[in-house]
């Protein structure tokens, strides 16, 4: 087993052991009762329903919202990031302004704003759509993450030496084709660790969507505490913390490993 993997595993089980220790310290002799409460409520917290047959939200909603936001942010961020490197100063400066505006918006403020900006009912071509809180959450989270993705993308483009642009232009390629065929294939491997880190950050940010009224894991946790009693609040929140950790830790570890691999390849190549 490689040293990196050993370290990663020690970190993984170490954090879980610490959470377990806090749990035991908090509940002492009542630990078993708390475990029983968590076991009974596990399906509710994980998938937002009392049995594992149907899905209504919970931690799965956080995963879904994070994936949807990531897709939206990637598509918009790639276009915006491309615009921030455009030769036309009008396009470039507008894009930089938009990126800075989006990047410096506090996540929670944007989510609250979406709650009131986006109506509950949306009429498109005569058809009425009900805008779910989850959809608002996706829009709200996409705003700052689009800005981060555009920065990741811009940095990736700029990591490719200018000579590549020059020789591609000398061969008759135009800007779009140069980006697609020559720059991006070289930039993407460099971008992967940053994309993964951004996603891990976005995922942690999904804990904020509770303010939109989405049935995410935190809103389910609040419901559980309200019905089972404040005594178990610590246990429930430790459980939620554990879920986030188990999901994000491998992503963060993998992104660091890939980054080191790229750095090594860069040194030898």
């Amino acid at each position: 087993m490689s040293r990196e993997l050993t370290h990663a595993l020690i970190g993984f089980f170490g954090v879980i052991a610490v959470l377990g220790g806090v749990f035991l310290a908090a509940y002492g002799g009542d630990s078993l009762d708390a475990v029983i409460v968590l076991t009974n409520r596990a399906s509710l917290l994980l998938i937002g329903s009392n049995s594992f047959d149907s899905v209504g939200g919970g931690f799965l909603a956080n995963i879904g919202i994070s994936l949807a936001s990531m897709v939206v942010a990637t598509v918009l961020g790639v276009s915006l990031g491309g615009a921030t490197t455009a030769p036309n100063p009008m396009v470039r400066n507008t894009a930089i302004l938009v990126v800075n505006l989006m990047r410096n918006s506090p996540w929670l403020v944007v989510l609250y704003a979406m709650l009131y900006l986006i109506p509950f009912r949306l009429s498109i071509f005569g058809t009425e759509y009900w805008v779910s809180p989850a959809a608002k959450a996706v829009v709200g989270l996409s705003v700052p993450v689009t800005a981060y993705m555009s920065e990741v993308f811009r940095a990736g483009i700029q990591s490719v030496p200018d000579g590549q642009w020059e020789s591609a232009r000398a061969l008759g390629y135009r800007r779009g084709a140069i980006l697609r065929r020559i720059i991006l294939p070289q930039a993407l491997p460099q971008m992967i660790p940053n994309i993964m880190t951004t996603y891990a950050m976005l995922f942690i940010g999904t804990s904020l969507v509770v303010v939109t009224g989405t049935k995410d894991v935190l809103s389910v946790a609040k419901t559980v505490i309200a019905s089972d009693g404040d005594d178990y609040a610590t246990a429930v929140y430790l459980f939620v913390l554990l879920l986030f950790f188990i999901y994000c830790y491998p992503i963060a570890t993998a992104s660091r490993a890939i980054e080191q691999k790229i750095r090594k390849a860069g040194l030898h190549g």
Binding site: P161, G163, Q164, E166, S167, A168, R169, A170, L171, G172, Y173, R174, R175, A177, R181, I182, P185, Q186, G269
Partner: protein, 249 residues
Amino acid sequence: MAEPIPPIVQLTDVRKAFGSVEVLKGISMEVDAGNVVCIIGPSGSGKSTVLRCINGLVSINSGSIRVDTHQVETLRTEKMLVPLRHDVSMVFQQYNLFPHKTVLENVLMAPIQVLKRNPDEVRSLAESLLAKVQLADRGDAYPGQLSGGQQQRVAIVRALAMEPKVMLFDEVTAALDPEMVKEVLGVIRDLANEGMTCILVTHEMRFAEEIADRVYFTDGGIIVEHAPPKQLFHNPEDPRLRAFLDKVL
């Protein structure tokens, strides 16, 4: 008497400034088809910028540049520049091969993707060109697996695969180890002997003297002196050229 054939490349009073720094202060130059012209001069004298103006990589502020039938300063968009880039190929100091593509892909991609040439024809052309520079067996290698001299020969082949009328060489041996300089210069010499019009920016004075039909000496953004190599190297008139040659020869 027959009408004289106009030069294939003609620069007339070309001026270019980057911001407030004027790099070219009125450059005029003529290159006849099939000739080899070398541009020499101290660093920062605008030699490389002249080459980049000829193939439209750098737009000029005033003056005119004609290459064959292309009036370069009127080509305002990348799309309008494509026919010019077909006729004028360039080789760079840092090779600038695409590292994520194999040698063969590097050579094939622009003729197929930009010029829309028949892939089979381009492939056989590429293979014969690679054979000519002794790299026939390295088609599947990636640039990172080749030596600097090999990479530069691939870059020359990539430029030739566009089937240009004019080749521009921008200090193509400056980044190479001495033993690799020879192999690259050999390829250029062969090209010149075959009648390819070549414009070289170079610090290889002996090579320039041997190969050039005419040598231009630039300093401070102007052409100080130009003449056939024998005269320019052995009977320099301008004191700046004399001082420069004293330093480099």
